[in-house]
Structure formats: structure tokens, C-alpha cells
Symmetry: C6
Subunit: 277 residues, 6 copies
């Protein structure tokens, strides 16, 4: 019967396997550091601003290491049960249903908790026994203690710009992770990404990146965050669809970010500097 | 069996199909921009004041693009389960019931989340994997990962006047959308709309629009919002029913908006300027 | 089977039909305005102080228009499910039970939400699709979209004296209603009402009304609200039962309103001015 | 079958019937006023400090009027369902269970809501339709509208000393009640009550009342409330059991009220003035 | 069948009967006063600091009076249902399960609610009808009114040091109890208790008590509470196990109480005064 | 049948038995003190900063004493039911499921509540009867009173650095425990631990410890906590995997701790002092 369980886990694992190489440009030592951490199954924390490629990097590493990947977008209404699992009512009574963290621990997946500070404390405490020498997950409600699969690893992301006094990880959580800093890619690489993902030519891509750079300096001076690579890709897509570049930039790089008239003026001026009508 | 699922989805889709052209007057480039965005299935955010036609525009585009439309009015007590779905108890145990967002992702509908900032954070985070390169919706409670239908698109609306420090979209949510600004229609077009929807003549319609314009300048100076096109239509309907114009305007354009005696005086004076007894 | 549904709805409608003309004195144009609004099925908001006859007016109009009336007293613990309906557990599993708003939309009743600002936001947002061109009610939990019966109309009441910064209707809700102001009836009419409902003679009724008028000027100067018509009727009933007028007024028009000794003195003096021992 | 229901209701009513005359001393016109109010089924509010006899008075009147009495001690965690009723799960599915208010409305009892301000707003709003011309109770969850039995009456109690800005009845609730003020009994009557209920002689009873009078003047000057008649009875009971009067007074009239050393000193001095060792 | 119920109750009562005399030293008139109160079934409130023997006293009195004792440790998440009982789901539907208060009222036990102010208000209000002339407990959810067994008595404990403005008993609750003050035992008696419960000799016990006395004077000057008798017993137990007295005192009388370095120094100095290395 | 229960308990106990000696270096008298406390089954509180070895110590003692160990990571959303147990729905109705605390009390395990202050008050109050002379656990919902197995002991951990005014143990909880202080190990021992657990040589281990010591002085001056032994082990592991020491230290000892640029500079300088490129 143990063999059956193994086979079933293998089936589940296939669902979460990444079959195509995700597009990710290595920009520093992050791949080597991650691999060393994975070799020791060290829990890893990815730090950086919105849309700079943290999620893409985890996908890339999961593909590289040939491990299944289970991603959970955390939020403030999420409970420990959403991660660990719960009993469901069946016609024969209650039946246990594994949550994503439990599944990952069983099948030896990389479990990626995106924006973990958004979650309530019971969700963050639940990962403690998985992130120290125990590498175990107690399912208290079921009375079962799961020993993590030898390939299991936990990864979390964290946006330092968001942290407030009210919402931060506890020190006893932080000190369970090695951490890697992320930022937007270098200008040339970002332009290459934009061109590749949208179909615009190198010149347009360069200009979009230059607009983005101007806005990123405004972070903390009226803008909560600079324009992410994702929004540059949106702008490129609109232009590739034949939309006038100024209108495309307005829709994707100005209007979503702010409603403040002065800030809009500033952003629009940045657009007009590079895209002349 | 896959074919059966297809057929069932087609049946569901029919329910949400818009069969008659909704009355909507294009006022700028919004149709072309939306079409370009839809071509790339880019998520779109519609920004603008109450009752200026955002919902009508989505209906119009859904009709134009021949896509089913599923609309959800968001509110602060709404949970992620209200969007995604939940298990219901049946005589044979629990049965999964798709929520509106899941249905839209399955059948390839446009899903329109009206006033999304009103919702709790778990409702806004739940849309993240549907609005990046994954285009997937994990039903964590069911252990299923839905890949969005190729025609699926997400649209949200957002009233900048409401935003407070306590209630705003997270940057990591905002930066997943292209955005279009909306405002009340130009005077001539608004008068045409009022005349067409109520049966009053062009002269009365013009006067109603002029009253509205006066009040819209009071926004932020004692009025939270100006008079919406909807209220102009209400006024026109009352007049068309034979009600005295001043009484009709009082009932539909003054009394609903404010209880402040001075502001009421001001609004009433605006009415009397255009509708003399 | 459609016919069966029609018949069932007719049965339900009978329950909510008002068979006797409610006692209501028309004091201005409110009847004509309401009828014009109903002709267009315009949602209507009734504004005015406690106990001035708003509920009675809706009953009167429902009787006049020969429509069933479903009244819901809103409160801050009410949820959208209380209005729309919910699944109940049955021996064969779950069974859907329509809430009062759903019933009203199905059978073509006037649905009257009394003191709607007391309700939580999900209750107020749930009425949005019923109050615009859609005239539909999505039962998200059931996956059904109800189109309102052609005779259905929504009416809400609203006491401007209560509104605080914390509790008010959203502009996007307010701008869905035509509104009518209500106040206590004119002195002669109020005296007639008191006499008719209690059996006291015209002189006593006049005096009771005069006491009420004195206290209504104290609103905002130590009294939250003036004495309502209902309390005058209570006073009249006590007097008609043979109770001494001063004692009757004390019990019904002074003691319920305030515990402040000075204010009690003032109110008692007003009573003694008109009812000498 | 209607007859069966009648019989069943009669059985239930018997449970709540008061078979022995409760000990209550009429101190003013309260009996006559209550009887006049009951003749019109006017809802009544009893106002007064803790332990001054409000509950005893309702019992007395219920006995006098030969009506069953259903008492509910309100608290801030009570919901409308606790008053109105709820569905319970049975082996054949859900079964409706009437709450105390519903039972009272069906069988024609006096329903006494003790300290109603303690309850949440949904509990207070639920009584509205029972306290105006409708005299009905909508069981929204069951889809039933109960017309109150002709003998039904609602009574609430209210301690003005407790009221704070946060917790008070809404004006639209207050103005549905006639109100009677209550206070501790006159000295001679209170002494008679103490003697009768404890078995101490008239002299001891008089002394206990005099101690109480001294403390009642301290209300608002360090004491939240004065010593209630109930505590005087406790003191008398201890003395009747052979306990030394000073020790008895300390245990029942000083220690329960305050932990402030100065206030204890003051109270103890009052005891020692009347009970010399 | 009534006899069967009696027998069943007797069985349940046996469970809660105290078979061995608890170790309790009477220090004043508390035993006589409690017995007089119990003779009249007067509800009793025990006031005093942590660990001074309140719970032990109730056990002693229950043993003395040969009454079963049911103890409930109150907390702020406790609901009225935790005291009164609830419906549980069974294979034949729902089944009522008595809570500890209900059981006590049925079998005639002493019910001891430890630290009752910690509980939410619905738990404290639920005891009202059991603590006045009614001596009844309405099980609203079950529709049953239990008359308390003639031997039933309610006892609560209350630590005056804890009371804050936010958390206190309501006057209408306080004035239902006779109250007894408790404090740590006199020095000689406390030493005797320590010696008896740990096995250390009289000299060590005396020294431990002297250390405790020093710290009790620090209450309110940097310490929330002084060292309780329980901690003295802990210290004695460690010493009896062969642990060095200074280390034993540090572990049981210093480290648990405070983390403030200055206060620890002060406490340690007190220890070193009496236990020289 | 009693024998069967014994056997079943023995089976459960095996699950929680620690079969291999955990790596723990005794640094003072803590082992002897704990053994004396366990001899009397005294509840023990372990105080100290994050990651200094408290959990490892309990494991070590459980192994030494040959007792099963049940560990619970506490969090602010945990309820008493999570500790004590609850009824689960089964095809034959509800079935009781013991929580970890109940299991520990039945089988005679050491129950370790990690970071107990994080839990809500009902979780902390629930341990009271297990931590005084009663040594019992009332399962109120099941109506059962469990007497703790003679070998049962309760241990809690507590991080003094976290305590705020809002979150602290009640005095009546604190005074139920003997307490032991923990801190990071002495430099030589810590270096030995790092070398043993990672495979780096003694020199590298010494340097890592020296970096840690520098940062621990910054606690309270910009850092919430110093670098824990666990993070030193992480650093050693990365170095053992061939990662450049500076990069390894940055990833494990700087980036996880802080996002403040100045503090990062300071920490990086400390790293560079000991690890020169």
C-alpha cells in the first residue's frame, strides 16, 4: 500500500511540474545561491518590489531543479486551514482534504508563499516546524505528523516597501530563512525582455524602459511604487496592437498608478519626452 | 466527456450573453483601446465617478466582442469564496459550486468586478494568478487549478473619489491592469442620452444637463459627488410622466444628494435658473 | 410548469396584499409624485424623522396601487443573505430559501427596506442591480439571475437626523433613488389623526399636538428627536382609558424621551401649560 | 387542526403562568398606569436602578392580569435569533424552534426583555413591527409572518445610570414605548420588605434601610450605584442566621460594592453608626 | 421515570463529590460566614489576589457541606453556551448537552466560576436568574426552564488587582452576591503550609515566607503581584529535591515574575538575605 | 477494557517518543534543575530569545527522561479547542477528537507549548487546572474530566523581548510555573555547534560566531533581535556548499534581518571585518 501512496503522490506531482522553461534572465549570483540553499533545503525568502520577477524566478528554479511548484497567493483573510487542509463533509462523514502546503510537503514540491506578510499569524506560525531541524508538519486537527519529503523546500516572498509596524513577520519567523534581494532588471536586459514579450522593436522597448526609470526615482516622492516591468510589457503590447504610443503609455503606465493631477502631469511629461507625436 | 463539458459550458455562456445592443455612446478612443487590450487579454481597470457609464461601457464591449459578461457588485463583506465558489451540502455529501469568477474563467466570459476596492483583500488577491502570465485560478479548497479559457478577460471598476487611506488597492494589484478614465459625457451627448431614455424634448434635456453641470462644480465643496447622468434620466422620466419640472428636479436631483439646508438652497436655485415656474 | 410557478407566486403575493385601506392623510404632492415614480418603477427613498408616517405612507401607496408590500426592518447585523436568501439543510440535502427581497422581485411586490443605513454594506450593494437598467438580482450562491417582475419596485427609508460620518449610504447607492421629504403632519391634521386613533375629543387632541410642537423645537438643543405622532397617540389612548392627562403625558411624552432632569422639567412645564390640574 | 394549535399553545402558556401572588408593594400609580397601558397593549418601558423591583413588578402585573410571563435577560452577545428562533438540525433535516419572543407573541404572553440596551441592535430592531400598528413578527428565515396574539404585550427595562454614548436605544425604538420610572421603595416600606423576606425584627430592618440611605447619597461620588434592596435582604438573612450584624453588613453591603479603601471606610462607618458592637 | 432522573443525577453528582478533606487552614470567620450564606443559598463572591487559596477554600467548603463541586475557569472567549450547554449533532439529529452550570443546577452542586470577570458579558448575565428569587435557569435554545435543585449554590471569584475600566462586573451582577475578602495566610500559617506540602523543615519554610513578604510590599511598585503561596511551595519542592536554595528560589520566585533587570536584582537580594551560600 | 485503553495509549505514545539523542550542549545547571522540577511534575517556563535552543532543550530532556514529547506552535488564532479537542462529524454523527494537550495528559507526555503568549486567553486559561494541585483537564464540551497521567508535565516557552502591554501572560498563569532563563551559547560552544552542524572548519565557525556577537550588541539599537545560532548554521551550510563567505553571510545573516540601509551597512562591515575577500 505504501507503493500505492508513492504512485498517487507522483501523479499529483505531475500536475505541478513546470514543463516549459519559463523566460527568466539571470542577472547576478541568484541562481547559484538558490541552488546552494536548495542543496541544504534551506528555506528562502525573496525580497523586492512589485512585479520585478520574484515569482518568475521561483518558476525558473523549479524548472531548473525539476521540482514541482505549488504557489499560494497569501492574503489577510487566509487561515492556517487554507494552507494545511481541513475536513470536508462527505456522504460517509468527514474526509480530510490536504491544503497546498501539506501537498507540497508530501510530494516533495517547492512551496511558494507569495506576499506572506499579508497572511494572519496562524499561517506564518504553521510553517515553523517545516523550517527548522524537524522538517515536519503537524496536522493537529487530524492527529497526524507529516515528515516532509526530502525534496521539499519552502520559499516566501516579501515586499519591503509594504512593511508597516502593524504588519511584519515575527523575528522568530524571519530567522528561519536565507534571503535574496531582487530589483528591476538592468536597462538593457529589461528592454530585451519587453521586446521579446510584446513584439515591439528594440528602439521602442528602450524608450519604454527609459520612461520607467524616470518614474522609479519618484518612488517615495508621491508614488508608492515605480512602474513595474509588467506594465512596460502591457505598454509594448498596446503599441504592437497598433495603438498610438502616447495613448498606450497613458493607459498602462500613468492611469493605473495614480489619480493625483500633478503626478499624472509629471508622468505624462516623461512619456512625451521619449514618445513625440 | 470533454465534449460534454464543452457543451455544458456553452449552455451556461448563453445565459450571460448580451443579446441586444446596449445603448452606449462612444465619446473618445475608449472602444479602440479596449479592443486592443482585449486582443492581448490584458486586464482592464475603468476609473470614474458614480453613474458616468462604466458598467454600460463594459456591457457594450461584451456585446461588440460577442463575449458573455458576468458582473459582480463588490462589497466589504464579500469573501474570496463568494467569487471562487464553495462546497455545498447535498444529500450525497458536499458538492462544489463555482462562483462567478470561476464560471467566467471556465466559459471564457468577461468578468466585471464593480467597485472592487469595496471588497476585502482576499477577494482582490484571488484575482492575481488570473492577471499575470499564469492566467490560472487555483481552487485551493477543491485542489483544482483552472486554466482560464482563452477568451476570458478581467475588468474592474474603481471610483477615485472614494479612495481613502484605509481602502485602496494594493500596488501589486494595481500594476496588473491597464486603465481607462471615464467621466460624464459631453453636454450635447448627455442631453441626447437623456432625451432618448426618457422621452422629453431636446430643450428640457439640455436644461437638465445644464443644471447638472452647475452641481458638478460643487463636488468637493459641500457635495461628495455631482449629479450623475442616471439622476438626469430620473428627472426626465418624472417630467415625461407629467410632473412639474421643478418638483421633478427637486425629487431626483436635490433631495437624494444632500440634507444640508444651504446646499439644498444652492441646488434649488440652479434648478430655478433653468426651469421657471 | 411555468404556469405552476405563476400560480404559486400569486399565492405568495396574496399574503403580502394589503386588504384594508390604511389610515393615511395625504399632505402634499407625495401621492402624485410617488405614482409617477412607480409608473417608471423608479426606486424611491423616503426621508424624515422617526414616527412621522413614512411606513404608513408606503402601506397606503401599496394599497392604492394594489401591489403586495414586503417590509424589512434593517439593522447593523443584517447580512445580504438575510435579504436575498440562503441554503437550508433538509433531509435531502440543502434547499434554497428566498429572502424577502428575492420574493418581492419574483412576485412583483413593493419591497420596503426600513432604515436602510443601519444595514451593513453588503445589504446595500445587493440592491444595486435591482435599481439600474438591469432590474435583476443575481443569486450568486445559487448561480441564478432573477429578472425582476415588471411590477417590482424598491423603496427605502432614511432618517437624516441619524446620519453620522461612520454610517451613511454610499453616493453610488444614493444616486439610484428619487427622494421624498417627510415631516410631522400639520397641526390640524395631526390633531385629527390623534382624535381618530384614540377616541379623545378634538380639544384634548389639539392640546397634545401643541405640547408636541413645543418639544420639536428642542430637537438638537438637548433632545435627539421631538415627540412623534405615535407618542401623541399613546398619550391620547391613556387619557381615553381614564388616566389623568398630566400623568398620561408624563408616561408617554416625557419619561420615554430623556433622563436629563432639566429637560424633563422643561417638557413637564410644556405639559402643564396645556393640561392644568 | 387550528384547534390543536390552540390547545398546544395553551399547554405552553401554562408553563409561563405565575401561580402564586409575587410579593410586591404598590408605591404609587404604577399599577393603574400599567393596567391602562395593557388595556391598549401599549409597549411599556420600566426605568430605574439595579435591584429596585422592576422585574418583581412585571411578575406582579402578569399575575394580576392572569397572563403568562416570558422573561429574557439581555446581553451584548445576544442575537436576533436568540429572541425569534432558529432552525435546528434534526434527523429529518432542519426543524424550526421558536425563540422566547415568538413564543410570547403566539401564546399571548407578556414578554419582558430585561436590560434591553445590553443587546445588539438586531435584537432591538426585531421588536419594531411588534410595537407599532402592525403587531406582527416576521420570521424572515422561515418566511412566516406571525400576527401577535391579542393578549401579547412587550415590556422592557432600562437602567438610566448605565447609558453611555456608545450604548443607548435608538430614538426610533424609544418612541415606541410608554415609560414608568422606578426607584427604591420608601424607607418604611423597604424596612417592611426586609423584615418580611428575612425574618429579622422591625428594628434591625429599619437600621439596615438607614445604612442603605446613607450609601445611596454616595452614588456618583465614588459609588456607581447605591445599595439595592436585594443586598439589604441578604444582610437581614445573615443576621437571621445568627451572624454578627457588623460582619453581616460588611459581607453583603460593603465588600461586594467597592474595593476602594476610602469608600470601604466610609461604608463601614455608616454600618457602625447603626450597629454598635 | 422521575425516579430514574433522580438516580442518574445522583450518579453524575458522585463524579463531582470531593472524597478527601482538602488541606485548608481556616484563618478567620470565613467558614462560619460561608455556612450562613449557604444556609440561605446566597450567591457568594470570593475576592483576593492570585494563589491565595480561594479555590482551595471552595473545595474545602464543598467537602465540609458534602456537596458536589463543579469548577469552571472563565476566559474571555467563553460564551454562554459553554456554561449552559448546546446542541450536538448525532446520528439521529441534534442532541442537547448540558453545560457545567446546568449540570450544577440540576444535581444541586456548588458551581464555582473562577475569575468570572474574564468572561464575556453573556456568560455573566446568564447567571442572573439563578441568583435572585427565581433560582431558575432558562435554556432558551432548548425551550426549557430549569428550577435549580434546592442545594445548588453559585460561587464566583474575583481578583480586584486586575479590574480595569474595560473589564469589570456590572453593578447589576455585583449586587447579587455576598462577598468575602481573601489574602495570603499569616506568616506562621503560611510557613506551616509550605513545610507540610513540600517536606522542607520549619526553618527553610520560615525563610521562604520571609522572602515572600518582602516582595509583596513591592506590589504596585514594579511588580503586578507578590509571590503567591504556590510559588513558595514550588521553591520548597525544589529544595526538597536537593537543589541549592538560592537556585531554587531564583527559578521559582524570581524568574517567573519579572524580566526587569532592576526588579530581578531586588528580588535576588531578598533571596540572598535569607539564604546565604 | 481498561487494559485496551492502556495499550492504545502506549501505541500513541510511541509516535511521540524521541528515538535518537538530540544534539544539545548543556551549558549550566539547566538539566539538573529541569530534572528536579520534573520529579515534582512542576510546570516549567523556558525564557529566552529566538533560536537560542529552547525547543532543542525540551527535546533533549524528553529523550533523557524517556518521555514522549508533544509540541504545539502557538499563534494568535489558536483556540482552546485546538488544544483540547473537538467533535468531528462522522457518518454516525459526531465523534470526539482529542487535541494535543489532551493526548499528552492521557499518555503521560511532556506537552510543550511554544511561544504561548501568542495564543488567545482561552488557550492559556485552559491549562490552569493542569498546573495546580488538581492536575486535571475538564473537557467541558464532552462532559469528561481527565486526570493527568502521573508522568504528564507541561512546559511553555516565552520570549521576553516580544512582550508588550497588549500581549502578556496573566499573573495567575505566570505564577503556575518555575522558570529557566536561556541565552545564546558561549562563543566556544557556539562555534563547536556551527562546525558540527555544517561541516565548516573551526576557524570559519569562530569567525561566524564573532560576527554574531557584534550584531547581538545592536539589539534594541536598530535590530529587534541579534543573529541566532540557526542563522550561523545557515551561513556555515552555504560556505560548505562552496559559496563565497561574504555572499553566504549576506544572504543568511544580513538580508533576512533588516531592510534599513544603514543597519545593513553596519552588518556588512561586521562581516567584512572577519571575512576578507
Amino acid at each position: 500500500m505504501l507503493q500505492q501512496v508513492e504512485e498517487m503522490n507522483t501523479d499529483v506531482a505531475e500536475q505541478y511540474r513546470i514543463t516549459q522553461e519559463p523566460f527568466y534572465r539571470v542577472t547576478g549570483a541568484e541562481e547559484a545561491l538558490y541552488q546552494a540553499a536548495y542543496a541544504r533545503r534551506m528555506p528562502v525568502m525573496l525580497k523586492g518590489p512589485t512585479g520585478c520577477g520574484k515569482s518568475r524566478f521561483v518558476e525558473y528554479m523549479a524548472w531548473k531543479l525539476q521540482r514541482p511548484l505549488i504557489t499560494v497567493a497569501c492574503n489577510e483573510d487566509m487561515t492556517a486551514s487554507d494552507l494545511v487542509g481541513r475536513f470536508l463533509l462527505d456522504k460517509d462523514g468527514t474526509k480530510w482534504q490536504d491544503g497546498p502546503l501539506t501537498t507540497a510537503a508530501r510530494i516533495g514540491a517547492i512551496c511558494y508563499l507569495d506576499e506572506v506578510v499579508e497572511a494572519r499569524q496562524d499561517t506564518t506560525v504553521v510553517i515553523h516546524p517545516l523550517t527548522d531541524h524537524r522538517r515536519a508538519l503537524p496536522l493537529d486537527k487530524k492527529g497526524e505528523l507529516i515528515e516532509a519529503h526530502p525534496d521539499f523546500q519552502l520559499v516566501i516572498s516579501y515586499n519591503p516597501g509594504y512593511q508597516s509596524l502593524m504588519k511584519d513577520l515575527k523575528q522568530s519567523t524571519k530567522q528561519r530563512f536565507g534571503a535574496l534581494d531582487f530589483d528591476y532588471p538592468e536597462a538593457d536586459m529589461e528592454a530585451e525582455i519587453v521586446a521579446r514579450e510584446t513584439g515591439v522593436d528594440a528602439d521602442v522597448a528602450q524608450k519604454l524602459v527609459q520612461v520607467a526609470h524616470r518614474t522609479r526615482n519618484l518612488k517615495g516622492h508621491g508614488l508608492d511604487e515605480g512602474i513595474s516591468t509588467r506594465l512596460l510589457v502591457y505598454a509594448g503590447q498596446m503599441i504592437a496592437e497598433g495603438v498610438d504610443p502616447q495613448a498606450a503609455c497613458l493607459m498602462t503606465m500613468v492611469t493605473p498608478l495614480t489619480d493625483d493631477p500633478d503626478m499624472r502631469q509629471t508622468l505624462q511629461a516623461a512619456v512625451e519626452t521619449f514618445f513625440v507625436n
